[in-house]
Protein backbone atom coordinates (compact mmCIF):
# COMPACT_ATOMS: atom_id res chain seq x y z
CA UNK A 1 0.00 0.00 0.00
CA UNK A 2 1.47 3.28 -1.09
CA UNK A 3 1.74 6.03 1.51
CA UNK A 4 0.21 8.39 -1.01
CA UNK A 5 -3.14 6.74 -0.38
CA UNK A 6 -5.43 8.40 2.12
CA UNK A 7 -8.61 6.99 3.64
CA UNK A 8 -11.49 9.22 4.49
CA UNK A 9 -14.87 8.45 5.91
CA UNK A 10 -17.93 10.57 5.26
CA UNK A 11 -21.60 9.69 5.01
CA UNK A 12 -23.80 11.01 2.24
CA UNK A 13 -27.48 10.26 1.73
CA UNK A 14 -28.53 8.89 -1.64
CA UNK A 15 -30.86 11.85 -2.23
CA UNK A 16 -28.01 14.31 -1.64
CA UNK A 17 -25.49 12.89 -4.08
CA UNK A 18 -24.85 16.45 -5.30
CA UNK A 19 -23.25 17.11 -1.89
CA UNK A 20 -21.02 14.08 -2.39
CA UNK A 21 -20.03 15.37 -5.84
CA UNK A 22 -19.14 18.77 -4.37
CA UNK A 23 -17.12 17.15 -1.57
CA UNK A 24 -15.13 15.04 -4.04
CA UNK A 25 -14.42 18.17 -6.11
CA UNK A 26 -13.28 20.06 -2.99
CA UNK A 27 -10.90 17.19 -2.18
CA UNK A 28 -9.50 17.23 -5.72
CA UNK A 29 -8.83 20.95 -5.32
CA UNK A 30 -6.72 20.04 -2.28
CA UNK A 31 -4.84 17.42 -4.27
CA UNK A 32 -6.83 14.41 -3.09
CA UNK A 33 -8.09 12.43 -6.07
CA UNK A 34 -10.59 9.63 -5.63
CA UNK A 35 -9.27 6.13 -6.19
CA UNK A 36 -12.22 4.15 -4.88
CA UNK A 37 -15.52 4.68 -3.11
CA UNK A 38 -16.56 1.88 -0.78
CA UNK A 39 -19.82 1.07 0.97
CA UNK A 40 -20.72 2.86 4.21
CA UNK A 41 -19.03 6.11 3.31
CA UNK A 42 -15.42 5.00 2.98
CA UNK A 43 -13.29 6.72 0.39
CA UNK A 44 -9.73 6.12 -0.76
CA UNK A 45 -7.87 9.07 -2.23
CA UNK A 46 -4.44 9.41 -3.80
CA UNK A 47 -2.43 12.51 -2.98
CA UNK A 48 -1.33 14.45 -6.06
CA UNK A 49 -1.29 17.88 -7.61
CA UNK A 50 -4.38 19.95 -6.73
CA UNK A 51 -6.65 20.20 -9.78
CA UNK A 52 -10.19 21.40 -10.30
CA UNK A 53 -11.94 18.16 -11.15
CA UNK A 54 -15.72 17.82 -11.46
CA UNK A 55 -17.27 14.62 -10.13
CA UNK A 56 -20.64 13.26 -11.23
CA UNK A 57 -22.57 10.24 -10.01
CA UNK A 58 -24.88 8.09 -12.09
CA UNK A 59 -27.01 5.32 -10.70
CA UNK A 60 -27.35 2.33 -13.00
CA UNK A 61 -27.39 -1.35 -12.13
CA UNK A 62 -24.35 -3.39 -13.17
CA UNK A 63 -26.58 -5.54 -15.36
CA UNK A 64 -27.79 -2.62 -17.45
CA UNK A 65 -24.53 -0.85 -18.17
CA UNK A 66 -22.55 -2.12 -21.13
CA UNK A 67 -19.52 -1.20 -23.28
CA UNK A 68 -21.66 1.33 -25.10
CA UNK A 69 -22.40 3.11 -21.81
CA UNK A 70 -18.71 3.55 -20.95
CA UNK A 71 -17.69 4.55 -24.48
CA UNK A 72 -20.36 7.26 -24.63
CA UNK A 73 -19.05 8.88 -21.44
CA UNK A 74 -15.41 8.53 -22.50
CA UNK A 75 -16.12 10.14 -25.88
CA UNK A 76 -17.62 13.09 -23.98
CA UNK A 77 -14.36 13.48 -22.00
CA UNK A 78 -15.44 11.72 -18.79
CA UNK A 79 -13.07 9.46 -16.89
CA UNK A 80 -14.48 6.43 -15.09
CA UNK A 81 -13.39 6.14 -11.46
CA UNK A 82 -15.40 3.10 -10.41
CA UNK A 83 -18.61 1.68 -9.05
CA UNK A 84 -20.06 1.43 -5.57
CA UNK A 85 -23.31 -0.56 -5.27
CA UNK A 86 -24.78 0.68 -8.53
CA UNK A 87 -23.38 4.21 -8.21
CA UNK A 88 -21.05 5.06 -11.08
CA UNK A 89 -18.38 7.64 -10.32
CA UNK A 90 -17.33 9.86 -13.25
CA UNK A 91 -14.97 12.83 -13.34
CA UNK A 92 -13.46 15.36 -15.73
CA UNK A 93 -11.28 18.45 -15.61
CA UNK A 94 -13.48 21.44 -14.83
CA UNK A 95 -11.84 23.75 -17.37
CA UNK A 96 -11.77 21.54 -20.45
CA UNK A 97 -14.44 23.55 -22.24
CA UNK A 98 -17.10 20.83 -22.35
CA UNK A 99 -20.23 20.60 -20.22
CA UNK A 100 -19.83 19.75 -16.54
CA UNK A 101 -23.03 17.72 -16.50
CA UNK A 102 -23.70 14.10 -17.39
CA UNK A 103 -27.46 14.77 -17.15
CA UNK A 104 -28.45 17.87 -19.07
CA UNK A 105 -32.18 17.96 -18.44
CA UNK A 106 -34.42 17.45 -15.44
CA UNK A 107 -36.21 14.48 -17.05
CA UNK A 108 -33.02 12.40 -17.15
CA UNK A 109 -32.03 13.52 -13.63
CA UNK A 110 -35.42 12.33 -12.40
CA UNK A 111 -34.92 9.01 -14.18
CA UNK A 112 -31.69 8.44 -12.28
CA UNK A 113 -33.52 8.66 -8.94
CA UNK A 114 -36.36 6.53 -10.30
CA UNK A 115 -33.85 3.78 -11.12
CA UNK A 116 -32.63 3.99 -7.55
CA UNK A 117 -36.21 3.79 -6.21
CA UNK A 118 -36.89 0.82 -8.48
CA UNK A 119 -33.89 -1.01 -7.07
CA UNK A 120 -34.84 -0.21 -3.47
CA UNK A 121 -38.40 -1.40 -4.03
CA UNK A 122 -37.12 -4.95 -4.65
CA UNK A 123 -36.36 -5.37 -0.93
CA UNK A 124 -39.62 -3.89 0.34
CA UNK A 125 -41.72 -7.10 0.17
CA UNK A 126 -39.16 -9.03 2.23
CA UNK A 127 -39.06 -6.32 4.88
CA UNK A 128 -42.84 -6.05 5.04
CA UNK A 129 -43.15 -9.85 5.19
CA UNK A 130 -40.69 -9.99 8.08
CA UNK A 131 -42.47 -7.29 10.04
CA UNK A 132 -46.01 -8.60 9.56
CA UNK A 133 -45.53 -12.38 9.70
CA UNK A 134 -42.81 -13.15 12.17
CA UNK A 135 -44.82 -11.82 15.10
CA UNK A 136 -47.45 -14.54 14.73
CA UNK A 137 -45.06 -17.36 15.60
CA UNK A 138 -46.11 -18.92 18.93
CA UNK A 139 -43.79 -18.13 21.76
CA UNK A 140 -41.16 -20.73 22.54
CA UNK A 141 -37.44 -20.57 23.12
CA UNK A 142 -36.93 -18.74 19.88
CA UNK A 143 -39.26 -15.86 20.59
CA UNK A 144 -36.43 -13.52 21.42
CA UNK A 145 -34.69 -14.26 18.15
CA UNK A 146 -37.82 -13.67 16.11
CA UNK A 147 -38.61 -10.49 17.99
CA UNK A 148 -35.09 -9.35 17.26
CA UNK A 149 -35.47 -10.02 13.55
CA UNK A 150 -38.84 -8.35 13.60
CA UNK A 151 -37.56 -5.27 15.37
CA UNK A 152 -34.63 -5.03 13.02
CA UNK A 153 -36.92 -5.41 10.01
CA UNK A 154 -39.25 -2.79 11.42
CA UNK A 155 -36.40 -0.36 11.93
CA UNK A 156 -35.12 -1.08 8.41
CA UNK A 157 -38.60 -0.65 6.99
CA UNK A 158 -38.95 2.74 8.70
CA UNK A 159 -35.55 3.80 7.42
CA UNK A 160 -36.39 2.52 3.95
CA UNK A 161 -39.70 4.34 3.82
CA UNK A 162 -37.98 7.53 4.92
CA UNK A 163 -35.22 7.15 2.32
CA UNK A 164 -37.72 6.44 -0.45
CA UNK A 165 -39.76 9.45 0.62
CA UNK A 166 -36.68 11.69 0.48
CA UNK A 167 -35.74 10.36 -2.96
CA UNK A 168 -39.33 10.93 -4.08
CA UNK A 169 -39.10 14.53 -2.83
CA UNK A 170 -35.84 14.97 -4.72
CA UNK A 171 -37.63 13.81 -7.88
CA UNK A 172 -40.51 16.24 -7.36
CA UNK A 173 -38.04 19.10 -6.79
CA UNK A 174 -36.64 18.41 -10.24
CA UNK A 175 -40.03 18.93 -11.89
CA UNK A 176 -40.05 22.16 -13.81
CA UNK A 177 -42.64 24.80 -14.41
Amino acid sequence: MSEDLINKSKWFWAWADDKEEAWLRANANQGLHLVQARPFGLYIFRRGIPRDVVYRLDYISSLKKDDHYFQLFKDANWEYVGEMMGWQYWRKEAADGSSDEIFTDSESKMKKYRRLLGFMAIFLPVLIFNVTNLGDIPSDGRTFFFTGVQLLSFALLLFYSYAMLRIGLRISQLKRL
Partner: protein
Protein backbone atom coordinates in the same frame (compact mmCIF):
# COMPACT_ATOMS: atom_id res chain seq x y z
CA UNK B 1 -52.38 -4.72 -29.32
CA UNK B 2 -51.89 -1.71 -31.55
CA UNK B 3 -48.73 0.34 -31.18
CA UNK B 4 -48.78 3.71 -29.48
CA UNK B 5 -50.28 6.52 -31.50
CA UNK B 6 -47.40 8.88 -32.28
CA UNK B 7 -49.16 11.84 -30.65
CA UNK B 8 -48.74 10.09 -27.29
CA UNK B 9 -45.04 10.90 -27.43
CA UNK B 10 -45.70 14.62 -27.78
CA UNK B 11 -44.51 17.08 -26.70
CA UNK B 12 -40.90 15.91 -26.86
CA UNK B 13 -38.30 17.30 -24.51
CA UNK B 14 -35.76 19.62 -26.11
CA UNK B 15 -33.09 16.91 -25.83
CA UNK B 16 -35.26 14.24 -27.47
CA UNK B 17 -36.24 16.65 -30.24
CA UNK B 18 -32.61 17.34 -31.16
CA UNK B 19 -31.60 13.68 -30.80
CA UNK B 20 -34.28 12.66 -33.32
CA UNK B 21 -33.38 15.56 -35.60
CA UNK B 22 -29.70 14.60 -35.51
CA UNK B 23 -30.53 11.01 -36.41
CA UNK B 24 -31.80 11.70 -39.94
CA UNK B 25 -28.38 10.26 -40.78
CA UNK B 26 -26.70 7.35 -38.94
CA UNK B 27 -24.71 8.71 -36.00
CA UNK B 28 -23.16 7.33 -32.83
CA UNK B 29 -23.60 8.95 -29.43
CA UNK B 30 -20.79 11.47 -29.57
CA UNK B 31 -21.86 12.47 -33.09
CA UNK B 32 -25.36 13.20 -31.76
CA UNK B 33 -23.91 15.34 -28.97
CA UNK B 34 -21.82 17.41 -31.40
CA UNK B 35 -24.59 17.77 -33.95
CA UNK B 36 -27.02 18.93 -31.26
CA UNK B 37 -24.63 21.72 -30.23
CA UNK B 38 -24.45 22.86 -33.87
CA UNK B 39 -28.16 22.47 -34.72
CA UNK B 40 -29.27 24.31 -31.59
CA UNK B 41 -26.68 27.09 -32.05
CA UNK B 42 -25.23 26.10 -28.71
CA UNK B 43 -28.49 26.49 -26.78
CA UNK B 44 -28.80 22.77 -26.03
CA UNK B 45 -26.07 20.37 -24.99
CA UNK B 46 -26.71 16.73 -24.22
CA UNK B 47 -24.72 14.93 -21.55
CA UNK B 48 -23.76 11.25 -21.90
CA UNK B 49 -26.07 10.17 -19.05
CA UNK B 50 -29.04 11.87 -20.67
CA UNK B 51 -28.17 10.47 -24.10
CA UNK B 52 -27.65 6.90 -22.89
CA UNK B 53 -31.09 6.89 -21.27
CA UNK B 54 -32.69 8.50 -24.34
CA UNK B 55 -31.12 5.95 -26.72
CA UNK B 56 -32.46 3.09 -24.58
CA UNK B 57 -35.99 4.51 -24.46
CA UNK B 58 -36.15 5.65 -28.09
CA UNK B 59 -34.89 2.27 -29.33
CA UNK B 60 -37.40 0.43 -27.15
CA UNK B 61 -40.22 2.60 -28.51
CA UNK B 62 -38.86 2.02 -32.05
CA UNK B 63 -38.44 5.73 -32.83
CA UNK B 64 -34.81 5.00 -33.67
CA UNK B 65 -33.05 1.79 -34.64
CA UNK B 66 -29.57 0.40 -34.33
CA UNK B 67 -27.71 0.43 -37.66
CA UNK B 68 -24.14 -0.33 -36.67
CA UNK B 69 -22.06 -1.36 -33.72
CA UNK B 70 -18.30 -0.96 -33.90
CA UNK B 71 -15.52 -0.15 -31.45
CA UNK B 72 -18.03 -0.19 -28.61
CA UNK B 73 -20.07 2.56 -30.27
CA UNK B 74 -23.66 2.08 -31.38
CA UNK B 75 -24.99 4.05 -34.33
CA UNK B 76 -28.67 4.75 -34.73
CA UNK B 77 -30.99 6.16 -37.35
CA UNK B 78 -34.52 7.57 -37.26
CA UNK B 79 -37.33 5.10 -38.09
CA UNK B 80 -40.53 5.88 -40.04
CA UNK B 81 -42.36 6.08 -36.72
CA UNK B 82 -39.66 8.44 -35.46
CA UNK B 83 -40.15 10.68 -38.50
CA UNK B 84 -43.89 10.90 -37.77
CA UNK B 85 -43.22 11.88 -34.17
CA UNK B 86 -40.69 14.48 -35.27
CA UNK B 87 -43.14 15.94 -37.83
CA UNK B 88 -45.81 16.08 -35.12
CA UNK B 89 -43.44 17.95 -32.82
CA UNK B 90 -42.47 20.44 -35.54
CA UNK B 91 -46.16 21.11 -36.19
CA UNK B 92 -46.67 21.88 -32.49
CA UNK B 93 -43.60 24.14 -32.43
CA UNK B 94 -44.85 26.05 -35.48
CA UNK B 95 -48.15 26.78 -33.74
CA UNK B 96 -46.28 27.81 -30.59
CA UNK B 97 -43.92 30.23 -32.33
CA UNK B 98 -46.63 31.62 -34.64
CA UNK B 99 -49.10 32.50 -31.89
CA UNK B 100 -46.30 33.63 -29.60
CA UNK B 101 -44.89 36.05 -32.16
CA UNK B 102 -48.35 37.40 -33.06
CA UNK B 103 -49.26 38.09 -29.45
CA UNK B 104 -45.87 39.54 -28.49
CA UNK B 105 -45.81 41.84 -31.53
CA UNK B 106 -49.05 43.48 -30.33
CA UNK B 107 -47.55 44.41 -26.98
Amino acid sequence: MAGKDFTEYLPLTESTYYILLALVEPLHGYGVMQKTETLSSGTVSIGPGTLYGAFTTLEKEKLIMLVKEEERRKSYILTEKGKKVLAGQIHRLEIMTRCGKTILSKL
